[in-house]
């Protein structure tokens, strides 16, 4: 372990950027107020500075992340921890909470992803938000988000993590509702906020359980505490309860059943936000949490299996919903939910590093897909309906090429990033055996669905005839500042699989790089879960599993692409022949509607009743009565104060005697 004092700079830089951007925004507003007639060109000068400042802040944080990573790799594997000076915030005798920063192999990976992808998205957003009057505010929020996300992954205890956890939630809420003038965006923001509160409540109660169990919230101490508790042979129900509750928290943040409904609505925010927050980083923090606390979850195998059930159901429901969406961002949103399901599926099989691997590759290709989709939407002037697109590859060739690379990676075509990470999760789920075999089958089905909807998207958007007025709309390619990040991400989406090649990879030493890197973090969880006997497959089985994955991806990609590359016939056919199924899929199996009908509306009714009966009749009457009484009393008191001091003195004396009597009667004698 090495102590360094510069770690806090990593979140501090974006925080600083956020403050500067906020000042620039205030400045712009003041300039607009001073000269209401002047054109935006003159008043918004300050706001234009926000983009370079914000991008630079995240870029510098990325540089520091690289420094942290290289400092880590210089240390021997067991000692790979960097810690920054801690300070005790609350010192409560038996329990104390410090604020400290810690970088270990796991958080270093998260740092690189957050800052790297974050910097690219910041650069892209400069072009995307160029004409928006609130761009300085946008960058202030976006930078604040990055700072909070970094706080989340850098904190060494759950309290600091929770601060980041709430902070990213707040930024997500602010950014979803960024265009609050537009109908529906503020509702979407509120929905995200409310649904996340449910998860956060679970998180908090889970944390309290952990305090009760171990007397600390420090995550490495919790891991050690779990190991000790298991050693003592006590079967502790509370461990499972804490794990279950924390998984509930992860469900909220990472949009798993039954709390996933906020994520598709969250697409109302600007597209760079969808890419950064609702695909690459924030929604994966639930996965991060589980990996961070892997000994705790490993000690609760029942919870792990339950997690697998939830994850498989989520992956399947969201994946099938993605097939029936018309909205381009809607497909991507459901696809994100489905891929997050994959990550939790891996976690449920104890494949900690595989889940992180998929998290990383998913960050690459999903951020790419969102940004490319944003480029498409930008190019066709805000249209998001795929049925009104078509043939766009002629108008925006570079966007089309990068989007196709992303879709190929998502669908798991052989040798691309998504292929290796998805395969790793499926292989390890298969290897876990038992009930996980069933989950593996679901996972295979979802893989087919994924390939299908990915290429359906490609076909509908970029191929076939143009289903809009080409003369009037004139789609155009996006500026270089937007396309360049796309190209970088496309490159990563293609080669990202090299991070963690499967064990059967022919070249010596090239396989499982990420797995070995994360080994110090996951060692304890592996020991508790597998008792040192990690499930092992023969290389022939592994080859067969790889081949199955590759085959499924190829077949269904082909099917999806060919069904849609000529136009809408398949969608129309589907709608006409199976309207019921199409509707069910489109509404994600009616879960959102069920919430509205069974939870939201009854609560609204209850609230109405309360407002009429309790508020109007009971409380108002009581308050008004009390107010009347208080006014009368006030009159008395006023006379008392106005009139004679002697009377007040009498009050004082009487009250003193009364209190003294109360005391004496209560044991003062």
């Amino acid at each position: 372990m090495a102590v360094v004092n510069w770690l806090w700079w990593i979140p501090a830089l974006p925080l600083l950027g956020s403050v500067i951007a906020a000042c620039l925004h205030a400045w712009t507003l003041a300039a607009r107020k001073r000269a209401p007639e002047a054109s935006a060109n003159d008043t918004d000068r300050a706001a234009r500075l926000a983009w370079p400042v914000a991008s630079l802040a995240v870029g510098l944080a990325f540089v520091l992340s690289v420094v942290a990573w290289s400092a880590l790799s210089d240390l021997p594997p067991e000692a790979r921890v960097l810690e920054s000076s801690t300070w005790n915030w609350i010192d409560g005798g038996s329990i104390s909470f410090g604020i400290s920063m810690l970088v270990d192999p796991l958080s270093s990976i998260m740092l690189l992803v957050i800052c790297g992808v974050g910097a690219l998205i910041h650069i892209y957003a400069g072009g995307y938000m160029a004409d928006d009057p609130g761009k300085a505010r946008f960058f202030a929020y976006l930078n604040l988000f990055v700072a909070m996300m970094l706080q989340l992954v850098l904190s060494s205890n759950l309290l600091g993590l929770f601060i980041g956890w709430e902070g990213v939630g707040l930024c997500s809420y602010l950014l979803i509702g960024f265009w609050y003038e537009k109908h529906g965006t503020s509702q979407a923001g509120q929905k995200a906020f409310v649904v996340n509160r449910i998860g956060d409540a679970c998180f908090l109660i889970g944390s309290f359980c952990l305090i009760d169990l171990f007397g600390t919230l420090d995550m490495s101490d919790i891991g050690a505490g779990v190991a000790d508790l298991l050693q003592s042979g006590e079967h502790n129900f509370q461990i499972s309860l804490a794990a279950l509750l924390l998984f509930g928290g992860a469900c909220g943040k990472s949009a798993q059943l039954p709390l996933f409904v906020w994520l598709p609505d969250a697409m109302a925010g600007p597209t760079p936000v969808s890419a950064l927050i609702h695909a690459a980083t924030m929604v994966t923090s639930g996965v991060y949490l589980v990996v961070r606390l892997n000994p705790l979850f490993a000690a609760a195998p029942g919870v792990l299996f339950f997690m697998g059930l939830v994850a498989a159901a989520t992956a399947f429901i969201a994946g099938s919903a993605a097939v029936a969406q018309r909205d381009l961002k809607g497909v991507l949103a459901y696809s994100t939910v489905s891929q997050l399901g994959y990550m939790f599926l891996g976690l449920s099989a104890g494949a900690w590093s595989a889940a992180i691997f998929h998290l990383v590759t998913h960050a690459f290709f999903k951020a790419l897909l969102f940004l490319a989709a944003g480029s498409v939407i930008h190019g066709v002037h805000g249209n998001q309906d795929m049925h009104k697109m078509g043939g766009l590859r002629k108008h925006m060739p570079r966007t089309a090429a990068t989007f196709i690379a992303g879709a190929a990676a998502l669908s798991g075509l052989p040798l691309l990033a998504g292929f290796f990470s998805k395969d790793e999760i499926l292989t390890l789920t298969f290897a876990r055996g038992g009930g996980h075999m069933g989950l593996w089958l679901v996972g295979l089905g979802v893989a087919a669905l994924t390939a299908f909807y990915s290429w359906r998207m490609v076909g509908l958007v970029f191929f076939g005839p143009a289903r809009f007025d080409e003369q009037k709309q004139k789609p155009h390619e996006s500026p270089t500042s937007m396309v360049l990040p796309l190209m970088i991400l496309a490159f990563l989406a293609v080669v990202g699989g090299a991070l963690n090649l499967p064990a059967v990879w022919p070249f010596e030493g090239s396989a499982g790089v990420l797995h070995h890197w994360l080994a110090p973090v996951t060692r304890l969880g592996d020991e508790i879960l597998f008792h040192g006997l990690a499930p092992h497959l023969t290389s022939r089985t592994e080859y067969i599993l790889l081949a199955i994955g590759a085959g499924l991806a190829l077949i269904y990609s082909h099917k999806g692409f060919h069904a849609y590359k000529h136009g809408l016939e398949r969608d129309e056919q589907f709608q006409n022949q199976r309207p019921l199924l199409q509707g069910t899929l489109r509404d994600a199996w009616g879960i959102d509607g069920a919430y509205t009908r069974w939870i939201v509306q009854p609560i609204k009714l209850l609230a109405f009743c309360v407002s009429v009966m309790v508020d109007k009749l009971l409380i108002d009457a009581a308050v008004n009565g009390a107010a009347r009484g208080a006014r009368a009393l006030g009159e008395r008191a006023k006379r008392m104060g106005d009139g004679s001091v002697a009377q007040t003195g009498l009050w004082m004396g009487a009250a003193a005697v009364l209190l003294a009597l109360v005391w004496m009667a209560g044991g003062g004698l």
Partner: protein, 494 residues
């Protein structure tokens, strides 16, 4: 000769303050009252020197002087507190726009005189000297409250203050005379130590025969402290005096004078019930006095908070809020443990930052708009954003929300209350905090409510800077309370 010099050295801060007070008076005469601000600067310099002397004393072994004065770290803590608040109050006076700044040299003289009273009050175990210090503080405060004698409100405030002050002092003196009659001494340590074999019976002996006279004396003496701290039911003077007195004087009364009351109470209870040589029957009786204080705490915070809710004047609101805070502080006192006293002292430090800040805001606001009504605050946040944001910070801290020092102070008080088993009291206090949220945030809401039509605020950069520093410290010590906690721990009584 040395027998006189040594004790005088121990009294150096008091002597210096006396010299400074006289110096201020003479200086004003020499200046012929042209611009009294110069006297203010002189006061600031003298306070700085006193502060340096006091800082150097932290950690010294306790000494005694002239049989009555005790020089220990506990006293030094509250002396430093007084000097620090007096410095800020002096700056407030200097920046007060409602003040003519001519012929007001005695303003500073009176402030320094009050400080001398506090200095003696907090550094004695002898009830006679304690009473003298209290009276010196009170006399100076009466004159300060009525400083604007031409204004009806100010004159009325001074009048009320004098009458209630006289009443309380009489009550307290009666209690002290009873104690003297029961124990034959005015020295608290002696009182607690005596075994009760000699006549008069001593506290221990008296308690074994009948506790009624002791209880009576206790109630009467505590009334005097309660009056200085504005604890219910001895708080009636507070809203009127706070509203009528010039705002810097209000600040002085709310911060320094209240702290003196807390210090004297802690000293009284600590010496009488928690000292090293206390008879066991006396120490047991202390727990029961704690019960009385717990009742007072609950009543005080509840009444203070409820009355604050419907106020229209910002100064009156803060007056009730300061009553409520006296209730919170009493939680720590009522535990009757060293840790509880520590929490109370920490809370005083927290109180220093947030209340000086809040009253400073009132002064700034009054000086620019000529009114202290909450209604007039509407939209003030857009006219003077910096100090309004600072005010919101102080309000957050007064409510007791993180990450401010007020949160940590309340956390300590509640924790000690729970450790002492006073669950009901902490419950009441928690409910009270919720109530206080309502009226504190009404101010914050007013500040940033819709923009007013016109008008701009004249700037006072130095004054605003002072508020900004207080605001930063409120947050800084909320995140890093260790420094203050360490300091308080070094200055503990027990």
């Amino acid at each position: 000769m040395d027998a006189y010099i040594e004790p005088l050295k121990a009294l150096a801060p008091e002597l210096l303050l006396t010299a400074a007070a006289l110096g201020a008076l003479v200086l004003d005469l020499l200046m012929r009252g042209r611009d009294s601000r110069f006297v203010g600067y002189f006061t600031l310099v003298s306070l700085a020197i006193v502060a340096i002397i006091l800082m150097n004393r932290i950690g010294d072994e306790p000494t005694a002087a002239f049989g009555m004065v005790v020089v220990d770290n506990f006293g030094t803590f509250f002396k430093l507190f007084t000097v620090a608040s007096l410095a800020v109050v002096t700056i407030f006076v200097l920046s007060d726009r409602n003040e003519s700044h001519h012929h007001i040299g005695e303003y500073y003289f009176l402030l320094l005189g009050a400080a001398i009273g506090i200095f003696f009050m907090v550094s004695t175990n002898h009830l006679l000297l304690l009473m003298l210090g209290l009276e010196l503080l009170s006399l100076a405060s009466y004159a300060l409250a009525g400083f604007h004698k031409g204004e009806r409100k100010s004159a009325e405030a001074a009048m009320k203050y004098v009458v209630f002050g006289g009443l309380s002092a009489g009550v307290m003196l009666y209690g002290i005379s009873l104690l003297y009659g029961l124990t034959g001494t005015l020295d608290l340590v002696e009182m607690a130590k005596s075994t009760g074999e000699a006549m008069p019976a001593g506290l221990a002996g008296q308690l074994t025969t009948s506790a009624v006279p002791v209880a009576l004396a206790m109630v009467l003496v505590l009334a005097g402290f309660a009056y200085k701290m504005s604890v219910v039911p001895f708080h009636f003077w507070t809203p009127d005096v706070y509203e009528g007195a010039p705002t810097p004087v209000t600040t002085f009364l709310a911060v320094a004078s209240k702290a003196a009351g807390v210090a004297a109470l802690l000293r009284f209870l600590g010496a009488l019930f928690l000292g090293p040589d206390v008879q066991s029957v006396v120490a047991e009786y202390g727990a029961s006095v704690g019960q009385l204080l717990a009742i007072l705490a609950a009543v005080t915070m509840t009444l203070g908070n409820l009355s604050a809710m419907r106020q229209t004047s910002l100064k009156r609101l803060l007056a009730y809020s300061s009553i409520a805070h006296a209730g919170y502080i009493l939680i720590g006192v009522a535990t009757m443990t060293g840790a509880g006293f520590e929490a109370a002292m920490f809370y005083m430090a927290a109180y220093y930052f947030m209340n000086l800040g809040a009253f400073g805001f009132v002064l700034y606001f009054e000086g620019t708009l000529g009114s202290d009504s909450i209604e007039a605050l509407k939209g003030y946040g857009f006219k003077a954003p910096l100090i309004s944001i600072a005010m919101v910070t102080f309000l957050v801290s007064l409510t007791g929300l993180p990450p401010t020092i007020g949160f940590y102070g309340k956390y300590l008080l509640f924790k000690e209350g729970l450790d002492a088993g006073m669950y009901w009291l902490v419950g009441v206090a928690a409910l009270n905090s919720v109530v206080s949220l309502f009226y504190y945030f009404r101010i914050a809401k007013m500040l940033f409510l819709k923009e007013p039509a016109s008008g701009s605020v004249p700037r006072q950069p130095l004054f605003a800077g002072l508020l900004a520093v207080l605001c930063v410290l409120t947050i800084y010590f909320g995140l890093l309370p260790d420094a203050i906690q360490e300091f308080v721990r070094n200055c503990l009584l027990i």
